[in-house]
């Protein structure tokens, strides 16, 4: 009988994504309520030692699918690998992160197992021995609660929803699993990974975000936001208007047609707050808005607002944060 929780611990180049640690935390809480073990699955090449390290974070068993052809992500390779691990682990719940990889992988795994799934969930609870998942719909204008008719119950979780798991000092049993597919059978292959944001904090994982909109007026003016972001260790985002005007690159876009972010602090400079932008940042814990226009809709969503010229506000704010953080 299916029991416990299996977490897909996403790694790229031998490093786990932060969301993997977040899933171990919420996974443990769900496993405690449902009964059964917390386990993890790691897919890649040469990832056995890395996999073992998850024992310290509460995983009792780690299923490892290790093969040369899994060095780079492929939907077919990874989906087959994860589905094999699910069959062996027989969990009641499978958790993945709603990352670029998770968005592609999770429904394909669900399809292989012939079950449904819930995407991009922002709250998970257990009721009557079953998982209930809450997720935003209609661009975050409302939420739905969903339940599952089959088993396992598969859920992808929005990054930054839960804190990361704390070290327990435990250790995990490592179990090797066959990928269930040969390298030749993979029809869509990653040929190359082009890095554009090396060393930058990834928006979807950032604890703090500083974002610029149309009000920033020029590409060069983003520098003041980067300076502010450096001081408070924030990632830098942009509204669609800023991207469409060429002030920022598409990778920086927050919103419906860009990235969905979920930081503790989101600071919007010169962003009016169109519904498409709100869809991408509405779940931020604290929102700060700075805009010249007192009627800008962003002020209705902001916890703190300043009605003033961002070019006057930002340099002063950078200095104030510097002072505060050096204390």
């Amino acid at each position: 009988m299916a029991s416990g929780v299996l977490v897909f611990a996403e790694q790229r180049e031998g490093k786990f994504r932060k969301v993997a640690y977040e899933l171990l935390n919420i996974g443990k809480q769900i496993a405690d309520k449902l009964g059964g073990p917390l386990s993890a699955v790691v897919v890649g090449k040469g990832v056995k030692d890395l996999a073992g390290s998850l024992g310290k974070l509460g995983a009792q068993k780690v299923y490892v699918v290790d093969s040369d052809f899994l060095a780079l992500y492929s939907t077919e390779g990874y989906a087959s690998a994860v589905a094999s691990a699910v069959k062996q682990a027989d969990p009641a719940v499978v958790l993945t992160g709603n990352t670029a990889m998770g968005k592609d992988l999770t429904p394909r795994v669900s399809a292989k197992l012939g079950v449904g799934m819930a995407t991009d969930c922002t709250a998970l609870e257990v009721a009557n021995g079953k998982l209930v998942a809450t997720r935003p719909v209609y661009s975050g204008k409302c939420y739905i609660k969903v339940e599952f008719a089959g088993s396992p119950q598969i859920v992808s979780v929005r990054p930054n929803t839960y804190p990361v798991a704390q070290e327990t000092g435990g250790s995990a049993e490592v179990v090797n699993v066959d990928a269930g597919i040969s390298a030749d059978a993979v029809k869509a292959k990653v040929k190359e990974v082009v890095k554009t944001g090396e060393g930058k904090i990834e928006l979807t994982e950032a604890e703090r975000i500083v974002s610029g909109g149309r009000g920033i007026k020029d590409k060069a003016n983003f520098k003041i936001l980067f300076d502010l972001a450096d001081v408070i260790k924030a990632a830098v985002g942009a509204s669609r208007a800023a991207v469409d005007s060429g002030y920022a690159v598409p990778d920086m876009q927050v919103g419906q047609t860009g990235k969905v972010v979920n930081p503790s602090l989101y600071m919007a400079f010169g962003i009016s707050g169109a519904i498409q932008h709100l869809a991408g940042m509405r779940t931020s814990k604290v929102i700060v808005a700075v805009n010249k226009d007192p009627e800008a809709p962003i002020f209705q969503k902001a916890d703190y607002g300043i009605v003033d010229d961002l070019f006057k506000v930002v340099p002063i704010m950078t200095e104030e944060f510097k002072k505060l953080l050096s204390e």
């Binding site: 939907t75 989906a79 670029a100 990889m101 968005k103 592609d104 429904p107 394909r108 669900s110 399809a111 449904g116 995407t119 719909v137 209609y138 204008k141 409302c142 939420y143 739905i144 609660k145 969903v146 339940e147 599952f148 008719a149 993979v186 029809k187 869509a188 292959k189 990653v190 040929k191 190359e192 990974v193 082009v194 554009t196 930058k200 979807t204 994982e205 703090r208 408070i232 598409p250 990778d251 047609t257 860009g258 602090l265 519904i275 814990k285 604290v286 700060v288 808005a289 007192p294 209705q300 969503k301 916890d303 703190y304 607002g305 300043i306 009605v307 003033d308 002063i316 704010m317 505060l324």
Partner: protein, 262 residues
């Protein structure tokens, strides 16, 4: 090359969403319905492929009679013909059931390439394309911002955290379209006139070869138990008409002492 596009009609991004009094759905009257914006990228790409190398373009959708209007928009943009999957038994289908219906059309149409939007902007699930690819046994590439077709294969750029993956896939394949792939055209007036005469084939349960219990609410593996409004955000503290430095100091202080995020 024959390209098939799976399209969904969704509420306009600007639409106000009101939950029904029983909490089981949304109030659908007074909503302006549109083709999901990511599906426009798929329609545009299909038309460009045909313009470049010839072939045929087919648009497919699942839904009530209401969705035909959005299908006509795709035909007015330049798609050749449509298939409208409609049957009372389809009501309440989840992503897997929808994919089964679409897969039945794809098996009959035998396209070389299936294009979808990255996700529909109502439920934002991005599930149907993957279910579809698995049901067909085809490769998939998700969220493609650049697509190049070569002999029997496609080279796709897709955005990942901090960069891009270049993915090469054999055809046929399911490819989902992201912002940046192209700039969708507007339907021209002659296009709109022509679209009125283009064929839209009906596709009901009998044509799918599926059982009534495999689709619709009966076949759903995921059940929506409740719709919830957004939690009320308490009104924020907005400073204005004061000295800039003073306002900034206040906010920085609140971020540390009240919000505790710095």
């Amino acid at each position: 090359m024959k390209v098939l596009v799976c399209m969904k009609q969704t509420p306009d991004t600007e639409a106000t969403i009101k939950i029904t009094s029983d909490g089981k759905g949304i109030e659908e009257q007074n909503i302006k319905w549109i083709m999901s914006p990511y599906d426009e990228f798929a329609v545009e790409e299909a038309i460009r492929i045909k313009e470049k190398q010839g072939g045929e373009t087919v648009v497919v959708t699942v839904g009530t009679d209401r969705v035909v209007e959005s299908m006509r928009t795709a035909l007015a943009m330049g798609m050749d013909r449509g298939v409208h999957c409609s049957d009372p038994a389809f009501q309440g289908s989840d992503a897997l059931a929808t994919a089964k219906i679409l897969a039945s059309v794809i098996k009959a149409e035998k396209p070389d390439l299936v294009l979808c939007g990255r996700q529909a902007i109502d439920f934002d699930q991005a599930q149907v394309p993957s279910y579809l690819a698995e049901l067909l046994g085809w490769p998939q590439v998700y969220a493609v911002a650049k697509l190049e077709l070569q002999q029997g294969k496609a080279v796709c750029n897709r955005r990942i955290e901090g960069g891009e993956e270049i993915v090469e896939t054999s055809l046929p394949a399911v490819i989902t379209c992201d912002k940046g792939l192209n700039e969708p055209r507007y339907a021209s007036l002659p296009g709109i006139m022509k679209a009125k005469k283009k064929e839209i084939k009906k596709w009901a349960l009998a044509q799918t070869g599926l059982g009534a219990n495999e689709v619709g609410a009966q076949g759903a593996k995921v059940k929506v138990v409740q719709y919830l409004p957004l939690p009320e955000r308490p009104p924020g503290k907005v400073f204005k008409e004061m000295d800039t430095a003073e306002m900034v100091k206040q906010v920085v202080k609140l971020l540390r002492e009240e919000a505790k995020v710095i």
